[in-house]
Amino acid sequence: MSVRKIKTISYNVFRVFILILFLLFAILPLFWIFITSIKTGEELYSIPLVYWPKNPTFDAYTRLFTYSNFKQYFINSMSVTLSSSLVAMVLSVMGGFSLSRFRQKKLKGWIELLLYFTQTVPSFMIMLPLFMFFSKLKLVDNLPVLASIYVATVIAFSTLMSRSFFDRIPVSLEEAAKIDGCNMLQSIVYVVLPLTLPGIAAIFCFAFVNIWNELFLAVMLINKSSKYTVPVALNSFISKAGVSWDLMSAGIVVSLLPTMVIFGIGQKYIVAGLTEGGVKG
């Protein structure tokens, strides 16, 4: 008995130790970026390194929003990301539901295979033709165009994800609703959708995070600085002279906030969604 007890205790000590290591590994890099962002210019490049700024300053943040017009980039990013994630969510819920209920196995198989296939496509491969196509139409520097492309970049995976949510909801529920006098649309809206809400939230979070973070397509399709998205703006902070790390750190911290909020709210759903939905065990 006592040997077993010692074993459990030592395992728990080991477990706590490992968990602390993982936590430190995960948060210290971000913490250091935050520290960097509140240092004064002198502290930033002083040796030995300053670990705890004596006069913490939010000067870099002020410059970010005055000198570099970060507010505009933030609004651009927000409108592009929100609109395209919402559209992607609606379309992939519809598509995923249909694929799940579709009875023609062969056609369904082909559609799903096509959607899987998109995961192997490097984004640069489609970027060039898209750029040429839209620049011919004089549609570069156009945020709605960028948003539509973003819908396409996340929709294949989202649809497959949502299909597996609906797979887990028995068709008999809809049939029961039909007997009770619901038509197809009603049975979907009142019976099926409420059951898949966590999954739908997960799809939205997944789309939001991916689109908010996208850089290369935006660099290619956006040249005018008034149309920059946040990653494009961060990219533009890198000049030939190098990186001004206080401004960059502040930019990184601010750019993290929306995904942090989304992740904080949606974590539960993302975990439930990616796992229950994505992985059929």
Binding site: A152, N213, M260
Partner: protein, 294 residues
């Protein structure tokens, strides 16, 4: 039958969007790969057969063999450590404790970051002169002079891989944790009755039970890592002396520096052919059905 038509109608928007924004440009890109398509020379575009592929494979400045090896090293090492550490994390998180969901929020957070920002964050940490990693190692007397994490050709690849591992642990942590929680407890009880120790339980109960999750996450993740040059682009952009160039970063440089869309697309074709053959072999070896792919 009537319902089927409705279903088809509802999935059509997805197909239309993917067809127009992914498959149509993909076909165009496939064609460009066989043309001498350069942004500076748009007047004389013509089909040149396999010239682009030949140029890539016989490139004297950056040998194709080295790029392939770098791509494999980048993918395999990143994947291996992301998986092993993610698995360890999931095992440690399996039995609930107070504040577990808050803990998960902090430890899984890197998943939601932008690849480019992660690259910037880590290049600041790895900075040779003002980097905190060198400073900490010096203070701890582990090293006596600064290490060029990103400038030393023998080390740079490992530095970018460390950053990638940092980013990828949460993905496996999240996926494997949920899979672990789905293993029925009676299986463990039965194994205990049969006299299995914890190591035996791991290999005879846990891993076989969550194998479908392992198979699918590893496959998807390996494709995503190959197609994830963002991090290298931000940290070293292929340097020093091309030692961190992978297929994806070569493609980026062909576009941004040389405006040679033909060769860039040819790189894209090479990446896709490699990934498709890899997935076919992988699925054959693991005998996973298509349904388990996600």
């Amino acid at each position: 039958m009537k319902a089927n038509k409705w279903y088809l109608l509802m999935v059509l928007p997805v197909i239309a969007v993917v067809a127009f924004f992914i498959f149509y440009p993909l076909m165009k890109g496939g064609i460009i790969a066989f043309q001498n398509y350069n942004l500076f020379n748009l007047k004389n575009i013509s089909f040149t057969g396999l010239e682009n592929f030949k140029a890539i494979i016989t490139n004297k400045n950056v040998s194709f063999g080295m790029i392939l090896m770098n791509t494999i090293k980048w993918t395999v090492l990143s994947l291996m450590f992301q998986f092993l550490l993610g698995f360890l994390l999931a095992m440690m998180l399996k039995s609930p404790f107070k504040g577990r969901s808050v803990y998960c929020g902090f430890v899984f957070y890197p998943w939601a970051l932008c690849g480019f920002s992660i690259g910037l964050i880590w290049s600041w940490l790895f900075n040779g002169q003002f980097g905190v990693i060198n400073d900490l190692l010096m203070r701890a007397d582990i090293i006596s002079e600064n290490i060029g994490w990103l400038s030393n050709p023998d080390i740079a690849m490992y530095s970018v891989i460390i950053a990638n591992v940092w980013y990828g642990i949460p993905y496996f942590g999240i996926m494997l944790l949920a899979a672990l929680q789905s293993v029925p407890n009676d299986l463990y009880e039965a194994a205990t009755l049969d006299g299995c120790g914890s190591v035996q339980k791991l290999f005879n109960v846990t891993i076989p039970y969550i194998k479908p999750t392992i198979v699918s996450t590893v496959l998807l993740r390996s494709m995503w890592i190959v197609n994830f040059p963002d991090l290298i682009y931000a940290m070293t952009n292929g340097g020093p002396v091309n030692r961190t160039h992978i297929l994806g970063t070569m493609m980026i440089n062909k576009v941004y520096k040389e405006f040679d869309y033909g060769q860039a697309s040819a790189y894209g074709v090479i990446i896709m052919v490699l990934l498709l053959s890899y997935s076919i072999v992988y699925l054959k070896l693991t005998k996973a059905s298509e349904d388990n792919m996600l």
